[in-house]
Symmetry: C2
Subunit: 242 residues, 2 copies
DNA sequence: CGTCTAGCCTAACGATCGTTCATGAAGTTC
DNA sequence: GAACTTCATGAACGATCGTTAGGCTAGACG
């Protein structure tokens, strides 16, 4: 860890931000709750880029434009930042998927809606998704158990949708549990590679995953096309209503 | 990081192993190259369980039954341990998949063979697979670029197999690149959840993934069954020849 | 105007980090 | 049996870690 040879005082006063494109707060004066948002933003970015344990409180503070001690006015510990981030993500994800599922009727369409919303949400909040997924092991026992329970609940929703599709004869699978793992892994992985500046829109990527998922569950091309049409109609209806 | 309140000398002499089921070397005398293997084993286990940055050299040494300084006789730095681990994994994985692909003829069968071998290899070396995948960002620039290039090469093999299957009409996909990401993500993810003590054998899980992958690429149930039969024949033939 | 509090600062504490240094015991070679 | 290499040890160095103590300041409130 030989990085700065000079023996400076512990607090690296203004200290250049340690790395690449990170939102650097203007080092003005007191900002109230905006400071908390700046901390959240900096933490998501840094946790995603370098990992929780490779990110120091000093780096977060620097990226947020404050001093390290100021973080403790808003969070009681480094872990509390991570927990808050992960809780927020899981809650919003679950709500979004639940709402999408409720918008359609048949099991196959419900599964497709869940897949679609899962992909879109992971594309829109890629860094938070990645941190929530990859830093479970950084948590201490209690918060880890809590988060794993939420994740298991979430997975179970998908599994039971698959089961319902198999029961009504529209879908087929040899092992619904393995299919659930496979489907969620490939959809969650969108957060790893999706680039909004790339050639494919997020909507397109989401549709492609609906195709892949329903295809892997033995759905006919006609069923897939029908379900996709139903999803897009539902979206438009929702938007008119809102 | 307040963990041990007492101010002990820096080297925590015998020091109990810091955590759960980790291979603890017998603290006998000098052991030669066995020590290197003990270091490798300890590092894989600890990197996988806690992450690279959360694993200290002292923890690795303790799990390997040696003193921290002894590690530097075998590796020049902590990062060198990680690089060695990842290089070994990628090389063995690539060789295994290449051999499996060469055993069969048609594009669909080659893709299925690649998927099958990929899943089996990730199930057999789950911890090394996880570390190779998840700790890319822990590497410094040069080794990271090297590893990413190898991973991209590996992905490209799968993509071109898919392309070949589409070209000869046995497979269908709207976007081969997205399909490649999705397929590799779900197959790599086997390392995250597969448990050899669980109800499903690794061979069964591998076959299930072949079904899922070929299904998502629009293969007919007959084609899937035929390809699976071909794969199992090939395996038997290889084993007779060996 | 005086008091209080929210918000942030400077400075530092004690622990732990990766790594290095000097030393030495055991094998090997001549 | 002397010289050399291999493998490991105990102790330490300097940096950095998460966190805390204490103080300053601007605005709210009486």
């Amino acid at each position: 860890m030989a990085e700065k040879p000079t023996a400076a005082p512990d607090t690296a006063a203004p200290a250049p931000p340690v790395d690449g494109p990170v939102p650097e707060g203007d080092s003005d004066t007191r900002r109230g709750p905006e400071t908390r948002e700046a901390i959240d933003l900096a933490a998501i970015e840094l946790f995603a880029n370098r990992g929780y344990h490779a990110t120091s409180m000093r780096a977060i503070a620097s990226a947020a434009g404050i001093q390290p001690a100021a973080i403790y006015h808003w969070y009681e510990s480094k872990e509390a930042i991570l927990i808050g981030l992960q809780d927020d993500f899981m809650e919003e994800l679950t709500e979004a998927v639940e709402a999408a599922v409720d918008r359609v009727e048949t099991p196959a369409a419900k599964l497709a809606a869940a897949v679609r919303e899962h992909v879109v949400f992971h594309g829109l909040h890629a860094r938070a998704a990645f941190v929530t997924d990859s830093e479970i092991r950084a948590l201490t026992d209690d918060p880890r158990r809590t988060l794993i329970a939420k994740r298991d609940d979430y997975q179970e929703r998908f599994r039971s949708l698959i089961e319902a599709g198999v029961d009504d004869g529209t879908l087929k699978t040899s092992e619904d549990r393995v299919a659930t793992y496979a489907i969620l892994l490939q959809c969650t992985g969108v957060a790893l590679w999706f680039d909004p500046r790339g050639p494919l829109s997020l909507d397109r990527v989401a549709d492609l995953h609906v195709e892949l998922v329903l295809g892997s569950l033995g759905a006919s091309p006609e069923l897939i096309a029908g379900v996709l049409a139903e999803l897009h109609d539902g979206e438009q209806g929702e938007r008119k209503a809102a």
